[in-house]
């Protein structure tokens, strides 16, 4: 793991600095999460009157459930699509804004604004846009010869949720890419320009490598986002349908736990999900970070 060559020698200071975050994390996260882990080994009714220790039965049940495996597959497709789409578009937009000197404020405000909308409400807006009966986009698509009905067509449903989820993330990624691009010293760019490198060459050879810490950060964040924080979007648009085709893992956890009140199975699913993402993050820190230039 990357670290500084030189560090300060103090002994107590780092612990003091870490205490606030660790304290809050332990009380409000680790402790409840460990209770959730414990719950994954139980079978109980919603109110908690009758709890029975069933060890790994919840786990074996979910792994043999075709719906769960389908959910895992759907999640991977979804996460990769959302990450690629939103990072790609936002990088392009950030690079564009970075080029401008005037009007950059104006463009930036307009591009970051969508982030201000709550995810659930954003979902409702996209539901309106794509609604087969009253939405404008199906209307326009019909003129192009495409019959849009995401209520029945699974692929279209996936397209809808990918667009809705990416849309929200574009502003977030844009903000960080822009901050990253603008912290590249202008002197480096000028030196390269004097050496005869055109804007595209400068982008590839200077900006992108120097952006790699930001890019790495955003890849991790985006994958976590698309695996976890997207359920308000799914909830407001397709609710996992049609026929489970957009039922990503985190949505399934929510539905089984919050709505189906099967707390044991839901807890087991979240443990698996957590393990999956931890594994992904470890891999990213071990391998991808090697290529990051600090």
């Amino acid at each position: 793991m990357s670290t500084k060559r030189n560090t300060f020698p103090n002994f107590w200071l780092p612990y003091v600095l870490l205490t606030p975050q660790l304290a809050i994390t332990l009380v409000f996260f680790i402790w409840p999460a460990s209770q959730a882990v414990w719950q994954s080994f139980l079978r109980e009714d919603a109110f908690g009157f009758a709890t029975k220790l069933i060890w790994f039965e919840n786990y074996s049940q979910i792994f043999s459930d075709p719906n769960y495996l389908n959910s895992a597959k759907v999640s991977v497709v979804f996460a990769v699509s959302v990450t690629a789409l939103s990072m790609g578009i936002s990088l392009m937009l950030a690079a564009a804004v970075d080029r401008l000197i005037r009007a950059s404020n104006f463009y930036t405000s307009l591009l970051v604004w969508p982030y201000a909308i709550a995810p659930a409400i954003a979902g409702v807006l996209w539901w309106f846009l794509f609604n087969p009966t009253i939405g404008i986009l199906p209307y326009a698509l019909k003129m192009a010869g495409i019959d849009w009905n995401h209520i029945v067509n699974s692929n279209q449903a996936m397209v809808l949720v990918v667009i809705a989820a990416s849309w929200k993330q574009i502003s977030y990624n844009f903000l960080f890419f822009l901050a990253g691009l603008q912290s590249i010293p202008k002197s480096m760019m000028e030196a390269a320009a004097i050496d005869g490198a055109g804007p595209l060459k400068r982008f590839w050879t200077i900006s992108l490598p120097l952006l790699s810490p930001t890019t790495f950060f955003l890849i991790v964040i985006n994958i976590v986002y698309s695996m976890f924080d997207t359920f308000p979007v799914i909830h407001a648009t397709t609710e996992g349908g049609p026929a489970q085709s957009t039922n990503i893992l985190v949505y399934k956890v929510f539905v089984d736990g919050f709505i189906g009140l099967n707390l044991g199975s839901s807890a087991a699913q979240s443990v698996v999900l957590m393990a999956l993402v931890i594994a992904l993050t470890v891999i990213q820190f071990r391998y991808v970070e090697r290529r990051v230039h600090y």
Binding site: M1, L18, T25, P32, R99, L110, F216, V250, F254
Partner: protein, 282 residues
């Protein structure tokens, strides 16, 4: 830039305009929706141009509006959202920057353990551990309080992760120079690292403020007193109508009004962080 490339300039603007159209279109729609009457949504293709009900709808929302659908006055909800958003934004930034500093600039036993404990919080959002977290908060007597609304949501690693990334890019020379000058870690942090981090802090402030502002499920669960309602809860309450159609025109007006403070934050902070960048040339 140093040279003049008109084609690339044109492309740049074109890309941006298309980007903005895509990004802003749903919001534009929300605005349009708030200027029509109710039946415009359910009985035809949704209108694309603004209607003529702007004054009426907004007057209702600002005046008695939300209170007729059972939520407290808009000003109260806006105030609660503001307090919650600010507490979360400041709280997260402060504890994360301290933690990231500790992890990057010090070597100590259990350093890696601390790192991973903090980072695990990225992996499990509130909604999934909500029932046990609720019990913890209830046991601590923090229901129906601003502390209960904000503190459990501060325990997340995004900010720490970002600061860590940033600190790792700060040249070693700066730290060595500070030590040579006799500055201790706290001095270094305050006089050198903090100013350098300004743009990241600004970006994070925007993100975290909006995250806090848009919280729905958590405030819903831990507040039973109407004085603690937040704006997004109020909007969802207007939209979550069973067996009936929501009054979309009013809901959208509320959405637009509720989005104004985050937008103002974005606009204001943006000037700050762009300014901060053009001034400090590393």
């Amino acid at each position: 830039m140093v040279e003049n490339r008109p084609i690339l300039d044109f492309l740049t603007h074109a890309v941006l305009i298309i980007g903005i159209a895509f990004i802003a279109f749903p919001l534009y729609l929300a605005f349009v929706a708030s200027t029509h009457e109710q039946t415009a949504f359910t009985s035809g293709v949704i209108p694309v141009l603004p209607g003529n009900q702007l004054i009426e709808n907004y007057t209702i929302m600002l005046g008695t509006g939300i209170s007729t659908s059972g939520a407290p006055p808009l000003s109260l909800m806006l105030r609660n959202s503001l307090i919650m958003a600010l507490s979360i934004a400041f709280g997260k930034i402060i504890i994360s920057i301290l933690s990231a500093y500790a992890i990057v600039y010090f070597r100590f036993p259990f350093r890696m353990a601390a790192f991973w404990i903090i980072f695990i919080t990225l992996m499990l959002p509130v909604e999934v551990r909500i029932i046990p977290t609720f019990k913890v908060v209830a046991d601590l007597g923090m229901l129906n309080s601003y502390a209960g609304l904000s503190i459990p949501l501060i325990a997340s690693a995004t900010a720490t992760f970002l600061f860590r990334q940033f600190f790792l890019t700060v040249p070693e020379e700066l730290m060595e120079a500070a030590r040579v000058d006799g500055a201790g870690p706290l001095r270094f942090f305050r006089d050198i690292l903090l100013p350098l981090s300004r743009t990241n802090i600004a970006a994070l402030f925007v993100i975290l403020f909006i995250y806090g502002w848009n919280q729905y499920v958590w405030p819903l669960l831990i507040t039973t007193k109407v004085e603690y309602y937040t704006v997004v809860m109020g909007i969802k309450r207007m939209a979550a109508v069973s067996d009936a159609e929501p009054q979309w025109h009013l809901v959208m007006a509320a959405v637009v009004l509720a989005a104004l403070p985050p937008v103002l934050v974005v606009v204001f902070m943006q000037r700050l962080f762009i300014k901060g960048l053009t001034e400090t040339e590393k």
